[in-house]
Symmetry: D2
Subunit: 373 residues, 4 copies
Amino acid sequence: MKARAEKIPVGVLGATGAVGQRLVRMLADHPWFALRALAASDRSAGRPYAEATRWYLDEPLPDAARDLPVVPCEPAAMDVELVFSGLDAGVAGEIEERFAEAGMDVLTNARNHRMDADVPLIIPEVNADHLDLVDVQRARRGWTGSIVANANCSTIGLALALRPLQLTFGIQGVTVATLQALSGAGYPGVASLDVTDNVIPFVGGEEEKIQSETLKILGRLSGEAVEPESFPVSALVHRVPVRDGHLLAISVKLAERASPEDAVRAFEEFRGPEPVPGLPTSPARPIVVRSEPDRPQPRRDRMEGEGMSVVVGRVRPCPVLDLKFSALVHNTIRGAAGAAIQNAELLVAVRSGIQRSTVSLTTQGRAAPSAGP
Amino acid sequence: MKARAEKIPVGVLGATGAVGQRLVRMLADHPWFALRALAASDRSAGRPYAEATRWYLDEPLPDAARDLPVVPCEPAAMDVELVFSGLDAGVAGEIEERFAEAGMDVLTNARNHRMDADVPLIIPEVNADHLDLVDVQRARRGWTGSIVANANCSTIGLALALRPLQLTFGIQGVTVATLQALSGAGYPGVASLDVTDNVIPFVGGEEEKIQSETLKILGRLSGEAVEPESFPVSALVHRVPVRDGHLLAISVKLAERASPEDAVRAFEEFRGPEPVPGLPTSPARPIVVRSEPDRPQPRRDRMEGEGMSVVVGRVRPCPVLDLKFSALVHNTIRGAAGAAIQNAELLVAVRSGIQRSTVSLTTQGRAAPSAGP
Amino acid sequence: MKARAEKIPVGVLGATGAVGQRLVRMLADHPWFALRALAASDRSAGRPYAEATRWYLDEPLPDAARDLPVVPCEPAAMDVELVFSGLDAGVAGEIEERFAEAGMDVLTNARNHRMDADVPLIIPEVNADHLDLVDVQRARRGWTGSIVANANCSTIGLALALRPLQLTFGIQGVTVATLQALSGAGYPGVASLDVTDNVIPFVGGEEEKIQSETLKILGRLSGEAVEPESFPVSALVHRVPVRDGHLLAISVKLAERASPEDAVRAFEEFRGPEPVPGLPTSPARPIVVRSEPDRPQPRRDRMEGEGMSVVVGRVRPCPVLDLKFSALVHNTIRGAAGAAIQNAELLVAVRSGIQRSTVSLTTQGRAAPSAGP
Amino acid sequence: MKARAEKIPVGVLGATGAVGQRLVRMLADHPWFALRALAASDRSAGRPYAEATRWYLDEPLPDAARDLPVVPCEPAAMDVELVFSGLDAGVAGEIEERFAEAGMDVLTNARNHRMDADVPLIIPEVNADHLDLVDVQRARRGWTGSIVANANCSTIGLALALRPLQLTFGIQGVTVATLQALSGAGYPGVASLDVTDNVIPFVGGEEEKIQSETLKILGRLSGEAVEPESFPVSALVHRVPVRDGHLLAISVKLAERASPEDAVRAFEEFRGPEPVPGLPTSPARPIVVRSEPDRPQPRRDRMEGEGMSVVVGRVRPCPVLDLKFSALVHNTIRGAAGAAIQNAELLVAVRSGIQRSTVSLTTQGRAAPSAGP
């Protein structure tokens, strides 16, 4: 594998929204991708990005994006190879299809196509092999591009935390209570009057998504389809006054007995298949275990692995199922923008035949890969 | 039954602490009890209550308590029939025993004696009959007074919410994730720096208390002992930046199939045995069910029934166990001070033979009862 | 003066908004007014109020309003004598004029007409006499109804707190830094992501309003116009993560020397002219002074006088001007809905000739007044 | 000037406290200083730092400090040239004197010696020349070491923001209302129950400190003493639920007329005297001006210049004084630990004769300086 001479031109759909802003921020310095086009609703089109956007992130708006003109969400308006979609579900479905049809790869954070049988729903460390669905998708839909989805923010934290347990001990059931951050609702999102001195035991559609998406991600690719896992998942979701970082209280029933120490070992040894560990956005450790009795905490642990590690703690026996523990996922990085970007990296790496040459990847310092001879 | 000519003189142990303040506030206008003595650590003794206390409640310090001199926690210093204990567990155990030995009834919120075999752990609507343990306790310990305990704040919400399900369908297992308010840690309690933009997945000792106390409360009095319930309980606790009101996310496995509608009916019809509904501090409905998708919420629902009702919502099937729902309990009222006061009312009512004449009680407007002819 | 046989039928414009909801809540049990009509945007019209409203207050939606049909903001649609306007400034101006023209008295919280020369801007305790402008207004505009405005929420707290100082010592300059609550921005208002772990040194248009409205309120009615006060006012405003209660840090330059004790005496003795103290919504003390070093605080003091008292504290010398102190005003009660209602009471009382018979008013238990013989 | 071969060994007094932790964190990677000794109360002495400390910062405890044994606050226990003091005022006074007497330079954040006539109270960009007081101090007290103080956290932000105005236009009076962060009260500090849905118009002793320290800092060194500025300063302080970052609302009366644009220019051009701009901890711009109407905000602007820049915004005319504006200072970095460290750098640089060779300093990459030939 050789480093490509040039970065891959990419764009962002829904660039002025909350996920779009995080995408813009993370793509500004990306080693493989060059941010070239920013699309948003017609209302914003034509204005420079810095003007069209009510920037809500604390980190500054990157200079690389500041003066890019906002274009409409039309394939013809974006001369790029690959687009990231932070579009709202209300419009994402059809727009993303048009881009895939026009030959672009669409890395989407929207929920619309996640559960389509021929759309891979990917967490690279967990189910990189599901990416083969892209061939099925193209054949079936006659597309030269593709749609590759990442899951809901809570689901990503849950599925990633469950993966080592599934591989090592087998899983027969899962309950998860979530304490979800405000940024999960976008911007402006949750009214301050609703969460001052308050928490809310409800996030629209979230429990259903967690319960279905987790099983698809942890499922097995078999021929032209994913056979989802069959164990029951029960989610009880809450919104809490925290900016970023979804905290999950998880109980699992295992197929095979395991002590908390066994589980901690499985978490700590987990890495994910090649070429995932070498991707630019992959954290050194997908799961970081903390031993303090009161961790993970959203504010103190969300930036672990630059926001891409899931932080696990309080692993202990569960009197009802088998084990219980806490897991924390940065909802807008690992749970949204970072997820889409890592998926794009996986797609590019796999296409470049990088999986046969990962050693060279890491030694070459994470330059943009191209297919080797 | 006739109204007693005079109110019963009562005192508060640990009157300057967080639970003590709430006790003082709730006892200031009590129809049966007259607040006569306030005890605290030696450091405070001798000073007027208003001076010795760093009052933290938003409601004003009641005039009835303002000038009462703080006395030491000694039986000889308190000329009352009954004391409420808001003492810290570090000192509560022995002090409470001395008061019981000296002939006073001690209604305690401390954890020290809760799991003693001969100490009743009471939620009046749930297990008023456990109060018969007082006779066992007196016989065994040679006391003329007694110790009657209320449970941990989360446990009270959980056990009260579970009771109708236990009675109607039987319970085989429970998981509960808690989102607990700041006031549960007392005052000053949780540092603001720890919960700004943060939640904490830990409350010291809480999970163990929830798991054991719930089973004792829901157990059956059999001869001289309580036979605890035997189903497994698993608690996953969290501290959240809310002032008052513990929110519980509960899943239950039932012995007998029940739809959400069946469960709602059981919650709504639940009242508790006589004479509980007629006690001054008992709410009209021990459990209030809300039908909105996003309730109960701590700030909006905690004062239901003047803080003595548990508010239930989001009753729905659980894919792993059978049913799941949210329950909210005001942790310093129903979960602490109000619990101790309601227990005291039960004790007084039972001793007065009130259980045979509840109709007259309610018609007589809740005057302090005495045994009728 | 005799009590009127019947309550006065009233309506609310903008009834589904934040101020509208507070108006509905406060009018539900009003001794003089009967809530008969609720108007909102055409979108809501035709539906029962409980359905058309996203109720955000913690206090429950009053039963009296629940089933009232929402009507459009048209005079013909509301068969009432008097309307309260919680309309947004974007539409309030013209709609309110139509109601006044149609013969109704409009008590408005909107900013549109506040500074009109012939519109009285009233805080009853401060400038009840400005109500005479209604005659000027009617004559000039040919209306049979009228528009009577209350000021901006911060201004009301400021002007009320300044009034005793103005009367007793004279004022030559004022600086005020505000810490304003979230509810001042309406609902949904401020995004939670903007005020978590943050404060904002800006509220659109607020500084200008405080600087101009205060001077009109404290001005002198002279012939057909108000001659505004002429001292300079400088406001520095902030939004803080508090639900209700604007806290003001005020410094004043006085015409006549005064010690902090002198000022406290002026605050405490202040009552406002007859018939204001006897109005149903007037608090017993318009200004309550607290002596603790760390009061007033929004959460602990905002409900003083059922939200209608301004709470003052920390009165001390100012090294730059003369005196400085803190003042707290409940922004949606005294600062908005309660202000409009108290103004309406004043209007009704003055028309009933009640000012000549206040003693009988208060002894008659605040029944709706009518002109006596 | 040449780089010193070795870093200067330094220690921290009060290393387990809130300011101590920030000092440890900032010194861990310092280019000139090597952290060698950590002292705290006798209770902690003997244990490794990581064990003795309840680490509250979100950034991890640096490895360099983890295993350092905590020693008592005795000169004999610390073999270093220079100590930073994060001690509480209750004990700081005498301990710091013992260290100075023993020949060490003490860079203190405690208030005890700030107003001593022979102790320099330094903000390097403002009054680096006051450091000459060290000679007076040594002569007068017979010390071979010294005490150099930084001011109170709010004062530092205020005095730094005022300095360009003082130099350019002259100042005749200042009012400042503060919105101060929780970390200013140390850890655990403010109880969460006190600031949930609340702000507090009081910080003990703060107003006095702001009013006196500002004048000393802005004063003129004249012979053996500082002649403080003589204009009046009035502070009105508040605690708000923000983690870090004190926001100041400032009004100034100027000796010479200045438009907001004039003031902005003065802010932006301000740099401070040599060798200050070249010190390792000095930010590129001591004052950063933002032009948005709603900035500075604590959460979004506190890390400007790695927490060492003061961020100014909303510069506008003041109807009462002359100009008003907002300023933000990171209270534990520029306002405490970073201040002490920058002061130490100044002391070292001045002693090394660095002021005559600043160009070489910056080109040499900020290595530890030594006196050149």
